[in-house]
C-alpha cells in the first residue's frame, strides 16, 4: 500500500468503480486450456489487464536426488515476471517478492494435489506473468490449477483464487492497479469450491468487521472464478472423445 493522500483520488463515480464495475464485480476473465505443446499441461489466463501463462511438468524425476521424498511427490512452483510485464523494466530473475509469492502459491495448491500417488517424483508448476495489472498471484494460481488438471495430475478438488480490497473505506472485489496502489488494504485468498482456504494474505488496514466482509467477498469472487475455470475445462475436453478423469477431478 503506497501511502498517498487518498482524498486526492476518487475511486467511485455514480456508485461504480473507475472501470465501471460494481464493488462486488470481477474484471473480465478469459481462460484458455492447453496452450503449450511441450508442457504436460498449460493454461493462459487474462484477468483484467493481467496476462499470465502457467505450465505443469510432471510427475517426473527429481534432480538433485536428495530432494526426493520417499512417500510423496514434491511440488515446486515458480512465479516469474517477464521483464516487460511492468511499467518500469524488471531485472530478469527472481527477487524477494517472487520467492514469497512462489511459496504461498505452492502452499495454495499443494493441499489438493494427491502427492502420495507419485513418491520420489516432482510436479513442477511454472507461472509466467506476461503483463501485470494487480492480482498476478491470484491469476497465476487460477491458471496453475487449470494447468494441473490439463496435465492429468490427480487432485482432490479445484483451487480458485481472488482478492478483495478496501478503497475509500469500501470493501471491493478484485482490485485493479489503481485500487491496489492507492487503496487501504489488499486481501488475496485461494480456496476449494467447498470453502477450504488454502491461501490467505493481507496487508493494509482492516477492522475485524471489515476483515469478515473482505473474506466473504473474496470467497464469492473465487466461487465465480471456479465456474469459469470449470467451463474452460469442460469446453476443452468435451471436444475430445470422452470426458477424462481429469475433468472429473475438478467437479
Amino acid at each position: 500500500m503506497i501511502d498517498m493522500d487518498e482524498n486526492d483520488i476518487s475511486f467511485f463515480k455514480d456508485g461504480l468503480r473507475l472501470d465501471g464495475r460494481r464493488t462486488d464485480q470481477l474484471r473480465p476473465i478469459k481462460i484458455e486450456v492447453g496452450v503449450l505443446a511441450r508442457a504436460d499441461g498449460s493454461c493462459y489466463i487474462e484477468m483484467g489487464g493481467n496476462k499470465v501463462i502457467a505450465a505443469v511438468y510432471g510427475p517426473r524425476e527429481v534432480h538433485p536426488r536428495h530432494l526426493q521424498e520417499v512417500t510423496r511427490a514434491i511440488v515446486r512452483y515458480r512465479y516469474n515476471m517477464a521483464s516487460f510485464s511492468v511499467e518500469e523494466r524488471k531485472r530478469p530473475g527472481p527477487d524477494r517478492r517472487s520467492y514469497e509469492l512462489s511459496k504461498v502459491s505452492r502452499e495454495a495448491l499443494e493441499p489438493v494435489i494427491l502427492t502420495s500417488y507419485f513418491p520420489r517424483s516432482v510436479i513442477d508448476v511454472f507461472v509466467e506473468v506476461l503483463q501485470a495489472d494487480a492480482g498476478t498471484r491470484t491469476a497465476g494460481i487460477n491458471a496453475a490449477a487449470v494447468a494441473l488438471v490439463d496435465a492429468g495430475i490427480p487432485m482432490k478438488s479445484m483451487i480458485s483464487a481472488c482478492a478483495a480490497g478496501k478503497v475509500a473505506d469500501t470493501i471491493v472485489l478484485d482490485p485493479m492497479k489503481e485500487e491496489d496502489n492507492f487503496g487501504q488494504a489488499d486481501l488475496p485468498i485461494a480456496m476449494t469450491p467447498n470453502g477450504d482456504i488454502t491461501l490467505l494474505q493481507m496487508d493494509g488496514n482492516l477492522s475485524p468487521d471489515e476483515f469478515h466482509m473482505a473474506v466473504e467477498m473474496a470467497m464469492k469472487g473465487a466461487r465465480d472464478i471456479y465456474e469459469i475455470q470449470r467451463r474452460a475445462l469442460v469446453e476443452k475436453y468435451s471436444q475430445l472423445e470422452a470426458p477424462t478423469v481429469e475433468v472429473k477431478a475438478c467437479e
Partner: protein, 258 residues
C-alpha cells in the same frame, strides 16, 4: 535429533493434543514466557534481544542517510532482512536467505510498514534527495519455534529504543525515532481442528497450517499470512483473529507500553 526419536516425539505430542494438553502444560492460547532485553548492541542505533520460551531472536537497527524511492520522495525507507544463521537450528544452512527466511523478513516488514509504526515523513532530510534509511536486521539465534512472533516483537522493541544518529552524519542533533504504533504478530497453528498459539518447534513439525495475524494498537488488522500446506475453514480464521487481537493487546500492554 534422529528421525526415530523425532517420530516418537511427534506421537507423544499428537496424543497429548487429543487429550487437550500441550507438552509444556500451557493452554492452547497461552504464550511461552517472554523476555525483552533492550539496547544490547551498542554499535546499533537500536536493538532488542527477545526470548520466547527457549527461542532467541536478536534484532538490530542501523540507520544512514540515503536516497528515497521515486514514488515516495519525502519519506524514509525501511529495509528488513532476516538471517536464519545455521547456529540457530540444525535445519538452517549457510548461504543467502531461502524462501523461509525471505517470508519471515517480509512478514516482519509488513507489520512495521502497514501499521505505519514509524513516522516516515519525519525521516525526510532533503525532499526528493535524501532521507533516512532504516535497516531492520533480524538475527535468529535459537529456533525453538515461532520465531516469526519473536522477530516481530524484536523489531518493534528495537525500533522503540532507536536513536537517529543525525550528529554522526552532520545532520543536527540525534533524536528519538518517532514511533506511532506498536504492531504485534501472533501466530497459531491448526491441528485436528485444535488451534494452538505460539507453537514450539515440535508443534510446528506436526501441524501443517499456520496463520499469523498482525494487529495495531487500536485493534485493527494490518497484516496476515497463512503458511503451510494445510487448509483453514473461515470460522477457524475468524477464531484465530479474535484470540490474536486479545493476545496482541496483552503483549503490547505488558512489554511495550510505558
Amino acid at each position: 535429533m534422529s528421525s526415530v526419536i523425532s517420530e516418537i516425539r511427534k506421537d507423544f505430542i499428537y496424543n497429548l493434543i487429543l487429550k487437550g494438553e500441550r507438552a509444556d502444560g500451557r493452554n492452547f492460547d497461552q504464550y511461552r514466557e517472554i523476555s525483552i532485553e533492550r539496547d544490547v548492541i551498542k554499535k546499533a542505533e537500536g536493538s532488542a534481544l527477545v526470548k520466547l520460551g527457549s527461542s532467541q531472536v536478536l534484532v538490530g537497527i542501523k540507520m544512514q542517510p540515503g536516497e528515497p524511492f521515486p514514488d515516495s520522495p519525502n519519506r524514509g525507507v525501511i529495509i528488513t532482512n532476516a538471517e536464519l544463521v545455521p547456529l540457530a537450528s540444525p535445519t538452517f544452512e549457510p548461504g543467502p536467505p531461502n524462501e523461509i527466511g525471505i517470508e519471515l523478513a517480509r512478514v516482519v516488514d509488513r507489520g512495521v510498514r502497514e501499521s505505519k509504526a514509524v513516522d516516515l515523513e519525519a525521516l525526510c532530510i532533503v525532499p526528493g534527495k535524501q532521507v533516512w534509511i532504516i535497516f531492520i536486521d533480524v538475527h535468529i539465534l535459537d529456533d525453538c519455534g515461532n520465531i516469526l512472533d519473536a522477530a516481530s516483537l524484536g523489531a518493534i522493541a528495537a525500533l522503540l529504543t532507536t536513536k537517529v544518529p543525525a550528529s554522526k552524519f552532520g545532520l543536527g542533533d540525534d533524536f528519538i525515532l518517532p514511533v506511532k504504533d506498536i504492531p504485534i504478530a501472533t501466530t497459531a497453528i491448526e491441528f485436528n481442528d485444535v488451534l494452538m498459539f505460539d507453537p514450539d518447534v515440535d508443534e510446528e513439525t506436526i501441524a501443517n497450517t499456520k496463520l499469523t495475524v498482525i494487529t495495531t494498537a487500536n485493534g485493527d488488522i494490518c497484516g496476515m499470512q497463512k503458511s503451510g500446506t494445510g487448509v483453514l475453514k473461515p470460522e477457524q480464521i475468524y477464531r484465530i483473529v479474535d484470540i490474536a487481537c486479545e493476545k496482541a493487546k496483552e503483549i503490547r500492554e505488558k512489554f511495550l507500553e510505558a
